[in-house]
Symmetry: C2
Subunit: 69 residues, 2 copies
DNA sequence: TTATAATGTTATATATTTATAACATAAAGT
DNA sequence: ACTTTATGTTATAAATATATAACATTATAA
């Protein structure tokens, strides 16, 4: 999974800390997500997409093959 | 969060076991998800949506307020 | 250049998802 | 009624997301 969080966050001029606060997680969590180091819960993904004024699938992008087998 | 999994699964004529196998989880996991008892990982949500030929947000529906604090 | 803000790192603890297994009930077919 | 298939339940274990805290590095502004 790759993510456009960092890019979208920059566009909205939000710092990691800003975003973390808005979606109610720790800033470290945002760091890990931006590094693709983990797979957020759907709810967190939805909150983040909302703050980035985007759709979930435009923020978190899966390769076709990741979703098969 | 409410989910339309059960309904969409019925339309595609998939049993819980079928769907579980396709997305590589246990059937019990599907049961819990259909009951809304937990918040899947984004990746699992994406796999399920794919098998149900739907978009994530049409399968798992959040109330506005759930995404705000 | 120095201060401050922003980002990144690491280690450990806690919470929640998912797996596993065993059994129970319901529905559907014969 | 019996058999099979689908769904639901419960308890426990394992895996992984997230919290927490402390510190390191990089960028930016004064």
């Amino acid at each position: 999974m790759i993510t456009r969080m960092k890019e979208l966050r920059a566009i909205r001029k939000l710092t990691q800390a800003d975003l973390a606060k808005r979606v109610n997680v720790r800033r470290e969590t945002i760091v890990f997500l931006e590094k693709g180091e983990y797979n957020p819960s759907l709810k967190l993904a939805a909150k983040i997409a909302k703050q980035l004024e985007s759709r979930i699938e435009d923020v978190f992008i899966f390769d076709e093959e990741e979703l098969i087998e």
